[in-house]
């Protein structure tokens, strides 16, 4: 079964930089940004975008619902 291809979109201003998504990502996709958002939080981003499988683990544990997840349906 080919590796699922996924991607996440983080609402940068909504993210509070809590890092709970980062530690729960099974494929080490997520890192915390160098820059900060409007509130001064380092926000989550896809540090290794190719690793993402779109498994939604990050999104379901995000207390602020800041992550949207996409996954390409494999034929």
């Amino acid at each position: 079964m080919a590796k699922a291809i996924g991607a996440i979109v983080v609402d940068i201003e909504r993210c509070k930089g809590c890092q709970v998504c980062m530690v729960n990502c099974p494929t080490d996709t997520i890192g915390m940004s160098e820059e900060v958002n409007g509130k001064g939080y380092h926000y989550a981003y896809m540090k290794n975008p190719d690793n993402c499988t779109g498994c939604t683990n990050c999104a379901v544990v995000c207390p602020d619902g800041a992550i949207t997840v996409y996954r390409v349906k494999q034929k």
Binding site: G6, A7, K16, Q19, N57, V61, P63, G65, R71
Partner: protein, 259 residues
């Protein structure tokens, strides 16, 4: 594959439910409240019952729950949410009524209301977020603060001799005939989150079938009160809170779960 390609609309697999408002959550970074809010709203959306759902907010960190959950809400005096919910459900039996309460609200000042709503078997759902501390007021000791756990009013650690031990109100109300479904969940990891969502769904379905009171305790973190980072607090919670507040179903179909 290009990012633009992957993130096309038809590839969407998860987005925050529209039943959560756009308001920035007042909760500290990494606090479980936001997750519990979202799961409840996801279930309300999936069951299509937004138009018949009435929430009762407590006094505590989640006093502003009505700014985040897009359903009709009543904000109850500290500890009184189960009484508020009782009256609403009695007068509007076809509505879905839930309370959303913290440990101070439900297990300290509101103990009597909790016990008696459960004992009467009101057809409501109680969502109880136990983070072992009074968060809103700045981290004081709560009825669920563990032995030896520091707080602003137990700065040298809770001492059961002088302050009494923590107690498990969830096991207590499970003994009452009026409670039908009683379970303890968590929302700090994907696995527990998915289980917690099933529990929420089950509770609200049971309410539809008038089976009696459903009660879900979410053991959660309070990184500000515990003075830890979010991830450390979740680890600490697993190592310290979970042994005392054990995960899983305590009562199903009105019968205590053995073991």
């Amino acid at each position: 594959m290009e990012f633009k390609e992957i993130t096309r609309e038809e590839n969407l697999v998860y987005k925050r439910t529209p039943l959560m408002t756009d308001a920035t959550l007042s909760y500290c970074p990494g606090c479980g409240h936001g997750t519990v809010h979202r799961l409840i709203m996801e279930v309300v959306e999936e069951m299509g019952i937004q138009e018949d759902t009435i929430g009762i907010a407590p006094v505590g960190c989640s006093v502003l729950a009505y700014d985040f959950m897009d359903v009709d809400f009543s904000q109850a005096a500290h500890g009184r949410a189960p009484a508020v919910a009782t009256a609403i459900k009695r007068l509007w039996p076809e509505k879905f009524v839930f309370t959303y309460q913290g440990d101070g609200d439900l297990a300290a000042i509101g103990t009597a209301e909790t016990i008696h709503a459960c004992n009467r078997g009101e057809n409501i759902t109680i969502f109880f977020v136990n983070n072992g501390i009074y968060g809103m007021t700045g981290g004081q000791m709560a009825p669920t603060t563990l032995e030896g756990m520091k707080s602003s009013t137990s700065p040298y650690g809770r001492n059961s001799e002088t302050m009494g031990p923590p107690y498990k109100i969830t096991e207590l109300i499970a003994q009452l005939d009026g409670t039908h479904y009683v379970t303890r969940q968590a929302v700090h990891k994907p696995g527990p989150v998915r289980k917690a969502k099933k529990a929420i769904r089950k509770a609200l379905e049971l309410q539809k079938e008038n089976k009696g009171l459903s009660f879900i305790e979410f053991v959660s973190n309070c990184n500000s009160g515990w003075k830890m980072t979010p991830n450390d607090s979740n680890i600490w919670m697993e190592e310290n809170m979970f042994p005392f507040y054990q995960m899983g179903d305590i009562k199903v179909d009105g019968k205590l779960v053995k073991g």
